[in-house]
Symmetry: C2
Subunit: 364 residues, 2 copies
């Protein structure tokens, strides 16, 4: 297996994107940023990161096993799940690797720039109801979630698996979701049932969920203890990747050049808008710069609403003058966390929320 | 404009994928090949190539102008279009640039490997009914189709525009489509109305359609006369890119390594399957090779059906033995056209239907 499945690596400085990275970029996809105009991301535009293949899991054959340290092991089919109480949550979701391809040096994996995001309304059964039905034993410390997707990663053959502490899994907005924006899940978003953990990066939101096991010791599987850790050196244990760092993104104004994606505007007022979110403390302010971060001015942030886990829209006025400009925006949270303008590098390329740069060329 | 919008170019031999190509790959996306298992591509998995931005074109504000050399210029809204006769056609659609990133040297543009495909059922009004209502003058030779998408390409600011001859536009399956798989078009697929020209590469199927103009001379706009031509040298006029070349693709068997996408199988029988299509003469046979094209054996092609413009499924039996194998498949048509195993290079990177290679590692 070692000849086809190699250790993680970091690209040489200046090296172009490899065929392996391109293969991932051609399968997975980000949100075209102009689609941030929609509160809910239209079907098909939400970002997608699929580690292995989309498994074939027909709804009528699907079963969810709940076992391990529980009083009453369960095997639920979709009809049984649908008889339980339902809840709908609007969630902005982001890949933990968003921003990876902007890091220098570049960790070699799915090469996201800034577009690995999307917002959807997920409907399903709050996980705590299922846990209560099974009766999680007091000796359990974590729940391990297993997906039906199967592959190899850095030499390890595996089903995709992640864990949450019993406390995190019992949060009222954590769902076993069977609908997305009012429609049954599509195959690529985890049909028929996936885990949704609002505020967390995407790796925690296990798709094609087939098993939940209550365990007595922290889970040490590949996606928990090997991948998705913040590391400077390959051999250190690293801290786990968990909740989304604050981020603001601009809808690129004007119109693009096909190849460079540089934006073109005409002189005069150019309304700016975008979205901001955080999986930690809520975003309370957004600032914008039209000179690449030299000077900042405040944006108007839409008022807080009932959607705690969804992005908020912001707007700002800008007057374009002939020449080239670099627009950027940054989010600030209630806890005082400020989105950085410089990268915080790590070997996996996780949680790089360095502020976006949008190059704009204003015609004369 | 020239500083941000440069001429077409070809990458130096061995050069990695550039940031500009990656930006396109992160926005646009192909079909994950395992999704060829579905006759109709699930929502969100159909390939997408968007030259500029997805325009904002609400259905209630949309109008289609039909003018130029016509007896009765029309301005249709969606309600008016929906009162006309409807027709549904199942269409396999492919980007003209599919296969571009496998060419050596590599033309620099959207870097597709082999996945820029999808199959959908499009519903709308046959264009010939609209042309009859407008009364196309006998002096008209072509119809020019204008989309609402606007951008710059190689220094030329433009709305996206393509033409068809009056004869091609009058084919009974050419549609002004307002539904895809029974649902209204999504923004990224051309909402509210797009042109669908079965058998042609995607560039002809103008999205966000707002105008049809009948003209007396062949259209010489950018997307017709500059882009989408087969050229060996930048200054030659070149032949136009039109209908899809024959192609067969395999569903990669087994399971993948995350990073290399090399497939892993266990020894023994491994059923192979895939799809084949052509926009020219119909596919009549598919051949498969398990040794990279050294020897070929026939696949079982599903019988012809009513869907002339959609892919057909094929199946083949293969017994895996330990070691590395390269699987490939090729389509043959009623006209005797055989899908090549070597590339036919051109500067734009169009219509590269050289047979796919799937590397498979069989465990012991």
């Amino acid at each position: 297996m070692d000849e086809i499945s190699t250790p993680g690596r970091v690209a040489e400085p200046g090296a172009g994107i490899t065929l392996h990275e391109l293969q991932l970029a051609a399968r997975n996809h980000g949100l075209p940023l102009e689609a941030m105009r929609y509160d809910l991301t239209p079907p098909g535009l939400h970002y997608l990161l699929i580690h292995y293949d989309i498994p074939y899991l027909p709804a009528d054959a699907w079963r969810l096993r709940v076992d391990g340290l529980v009083d009453r092991p369960l095997e639920l089919d979709l009809a049984a799940l649908r008889t339980m109480p339902t809840h709908t949550v609007r969630v902005t979701m982001e890949c933990a690797g968003n921003g990876r391809a902007r890091l220098e040096p570049r960790p070699v994996s799915q090469p996201w720039l800034v577009e690995a995001i999307g917002t959807a309304e997920w409907t399903g059964v709050p996980l705590r109801h299922v846990l209560a039905a099974a009766g999680v034993d007091a000796s359990a410390v974590e729940l391990v979630f297993t997906g039906a997707d199967h592959g190899v990663e850095r030499g390890v053959e595996q089903d995709y698996q992640r864990s949450l502490t019993v406390a995190d899994a019992s949060e009222p907005d954590v769902l076993l979701a069977y609908a997305m924006n009012g429609a049954p899940l599509t195959p690529q978003h985890g049909a028929p049932v996936r885990l949704v953990t609002p505020g967390w990066y995407g790796m925690a939101q296990v798709k094609w969920l087939v098993r939940i096991e209550a365990v007595a010791t922290p889970f040490e599987g590949f996606q928990q203890a090997t991948a998705y850790r913040f590391r400077q050196q390959p051999d250190e244990p690293g801290e786990p990747v968990t909740r989304m760092a604050p981020r603001a993104l601009l809808v690129p104004p004007g119109f693009p050049d096909f190849m460079s994606r540089v934006r073109v505007v005409r002189p005069g007022p150019v309304p700016l808008e975008g979205r901001a979110w955080s999986g930690r403390s809520p975003v309370t302010a957004v600032e914008v710069s039209a000179d690449g971060g030299g000077t900042w001015f405040p944006a108007d942030l839409d008022p807080p609403n009932m959607h705690r886990w969804a992005w908020r829209r912001w707007r700002a006025a800008w007057t374009a003058t002939p020449g080239t400009h670099v627009l950027t925006a940054r989010a600030l949270t209630a806890d005082g966390e400020e989105q950085p303008t410089a990268q915080a590098w790590n070997r996996g390329g996780f949680a790089n929320n360095a502020a976006q740069h949008v190059e704009v060329h204003c015609l004369t």
